[in-house]
Amino acid sequence: MRVSIRTALLACFVLMISIVGAAAQPAPPSAFGASPGASPSAPTPPSDTQSPPPAFSAPQAAPLHAPGLVGAFFSWVVDTQQKMQRELAGGVKRLKTGNPFIAAVGLAGLSFLYGVVHALGPGHGKTVISSYVVANEETVRRGVMISFAAAAIQAMTAVTVIGVFAIALNASGLTIKAWSLQLESASYALIALVGLWLLINQLRGLWRRWRPAPALAAAGAGGPQIDLDDHDHEHGHAFSQGGHSHDHDHHGHHHGDDEACHHIVEAKDVSGPMSWHKIAAVVFSVGIRPCSGAILVLIFALTQGLFWAGVAATFAMAFGTALTVAALAVLALGSRELALKLGGTSGAWVNGVWTACAIGGATLILLFGATLFAASLGPARPF
C-alpha cells in the first residue's frame, strides 16, 4: 500500500517537472548561444551581429537577475525571450539580405519556437481551455483541436487588425494598440460570460441530480424544466448495464454504495457531454484577442516591407502557441484522470472529483475572465 502512495507522489512530481519542462524545453539555451546561468561577467554578444552595424549603437542592458533559485529560473526565461525576439527581428531582416529560402525556413522555425514560449504568457487561452476541458467531458483529441482553433483565430485576428489599421488606414501605433486593447477587453468579457454560462449549466445539472425524487417527478410532469436538459445521454449509454441509462429522472439519491456506478454516470453528466456550441464559444472568446506577439512581428515585418513574411511568421507562431496550450490542456486532463484513479473505485470519490472539476473549472473561467476584464478597464499602459 505504501508503495502505491509513493508511486502516486512520484506521478505528481513528474507532473510538476513536466510543467517546468514545458516552460524550459522549447527554448534550449544552446540554440541561442548562451548558457542559462550566463553570469554578468560574461555577457553574450548581441545576437543581431549578422546585420550591418548601424552608425548608431544602441545601449545594451545587462541581463536581469532576480534572487533565489526561482528568480534565477525566471531570469533565464526572460533573458531567453529577449534573445528570441532579437533573433526574430534578425530573421525578418535576413529575408532581404540572405538566401530567401533559408531565411524563410529559419524565420518559420524561430516564429514557431517563439510561439511555444510566448504562449506561457497571459492571454493565449491556457487557463480557459484547460479549465474548459477539465470541467467538461472532453477528450484529449478535442482539447488539442480547441487549442489549435483558438490559436488560428488569434492569428487571423492579428493579421486582420494590422491589415486594416496599419496598411489600409495607415493608423498610428497608438491607435493599433488601443484597438488591440479593446479586443482584449471584449475577449475577457466574453470569457467571463462563457464561464457563467458553463457554471449555470453545470449547477443546473447538479440540481437535477440532487433534487429529491417527488419534486423531480413533478417537474418532469411540468415539462419545461426537462426541456432545458440539453444532454444527449451518450454517456449513459456507455455506462449502462441494462435499462438504467435513461432513468435519471426517476431515481432519487438515497442509494447505497452498491449503486455507485450510477453515480459515476450522473456525475459525468453534470459536466455535460460535448457540445459544439460550448466549444465554439470558448474558441471565439479566446480567439478575438489578437496575439500580442503576432502584432509586434507583423508591424516589424511591415516596416521592413515584408508583410507577407509577417503573416507566415504569425501562423508559424500560432502553431507554437497552440502546441503549448494543447500540452497544458492534456496535462490538466491527465491530472483529472489521475485524481479519478487515485481515489480508487469508490463511487462517492469519483462523483466528487467530477463535481469538483465541473463546478471548479467553470468557476475558474468565470473568475479569470471577470478579473482580467476588470483589470483591462484600468489605466492604459504607457508602452
Binding site: 502512495i5 505528481c12 510543467i19 553570469s39 542592458a61 492571454g123 490538466a332 481515489g343 489605466p379
Partner: protein, 228 residues
C-alpha cells in the same frame, strides 16, 4: 502501526487533490513574460544647494516595440521620424506613465513609501534606427538632501509588462553639484542572495493575477550614499 484501509484511502485522496491543484496551477498565467524591453540610463540631477532635484531618464526600447510605436507617425512621409513627428507619442507615453508611478521609485532611507514625483518635464522621443529612446525629467516634489540618509532609486514595472534593465555602459550619471562625500552607483545584483521560503512562495504566487508585483524581483537600484 499499520495504517488502516480508511486512512490509506484518505491519504490517496489527498494526493489526488494535490494533483488536481497542480493541474490548475499549470494553467495559470505566467508573468515571466515581458512584452517590451527597455534599457535604462538614469541621471541624478542635483541642485545648486546639493539637494537631489530630479531624475533624468533615457529609456531605449527594443526594435519590435519601436516599430509599433513609430508606425504611422512619419506624417510628412519623408522617411525620417523627427522629434516633432514623434511628439504625440512622447506626450501619450509620459502622460500614461503617471498612473504607473513613472516606473521610478525613490526611497529615502528605510521609508517604505516612495517619494512623490512631479509631472515630467523636457520629454521627447528620439528615433535612431532601429530603436527609439524616450527622454524625460522627473522632478522630485521636494528637493532631497541625501546626506542624512541614503537614497535609493528603483526603476521597474511591477507587473513586468516592460522589462527594465540598466545599460551595461554608463547606467547612471550625475549632473549638477553633488555633495563632496556622496557617490551615485548602481547596485550590483546579488546572485548569491539566498531566497528564504517566504520569498520563494511570494515569487511563485506573485506571478498570478493582474495586480502582480512580479517585476519587483528584477528591480535594479541606484544608490546615492554619503560618508558621514
Amino acid at each position: 502501526m499499520k495504517p488502516t484501509a480508511l486512512q490509506l484511502g484518505i491519504r490517496r485522496r489527498q494526493i489526488g487533490c494535490l494533483c488536481a491543484a497542480v493541474a490548475l496551477l499549470a494553467s495559470s498565467p505566467a508573468s515571466a513574460h515581458p512584452h517590451v524591453w527597455a534599457t535604462v540610463r538614469s541621471e541624478i540631477v542635483f541642485g545648486p544647494d546639493h539637494k537631489i532635484i530630479g531624475i533624468r531618464q533615457a529609456w531605449t526600447f527594443d526594435e519590435f516595440y519601436t516599430a509599433m510605436a513609430i508606425q504611422g507617425l512619419d506624417t510628412n512621409g519623408d522617411g525620417v521620424y523627427s522629434k516633432e513627428e514623434l511628439a504625440p507619442l512622447a506626450k501619450v507615453n509620459v502622460e500614461s506613465l503617471h498612473e504607473f508611478g513613472y516606473f521610478t521609485f525613490v526611497h529615502f532611507g528605510d521609508d517604505n513609501k516612495p517619494l512623490p514625483l512631479g509631472a515630467p518635464k523636457d520629454y521627447w522621443v528620439e528615433y535612431q534606427d532601429p530603436v527609439s529612446t524616450l527622454h524625460f525629467t522627473l522632478p522630485l516634489k521636494t528637493p532631497l538632501d541625501p546626506r542624512p540618509r541614503p537614497v535609493a532609486v528603483d526603476v521597474y514595472d511591477p507587473t513586468f509588462f516592460v522589462a527594465f534593465g540598466f545599460a551595461k555602459k554608463d547606467p547612471v550619471k550625475v549632473s549638477g553639484s553633488i555633495p563632496a562625500d556622496c557617490k551615485v552607483e548602481l547596485e550590483k545584483p546579488d546572485a548569491e542572495a539566498a531566497a528564504d521560503a517566504k520569498a520563494l512562495t511570494e515569487a511563485f504566487f506573485s506571478q498570478l493575477g493582474p495586480n502582480s508585483n512580479f517585476g519587483s524581483q528584477f528591480a535594479q537600484t541606484v544608490n546615492i550614499t554619503c560618508k558621514k
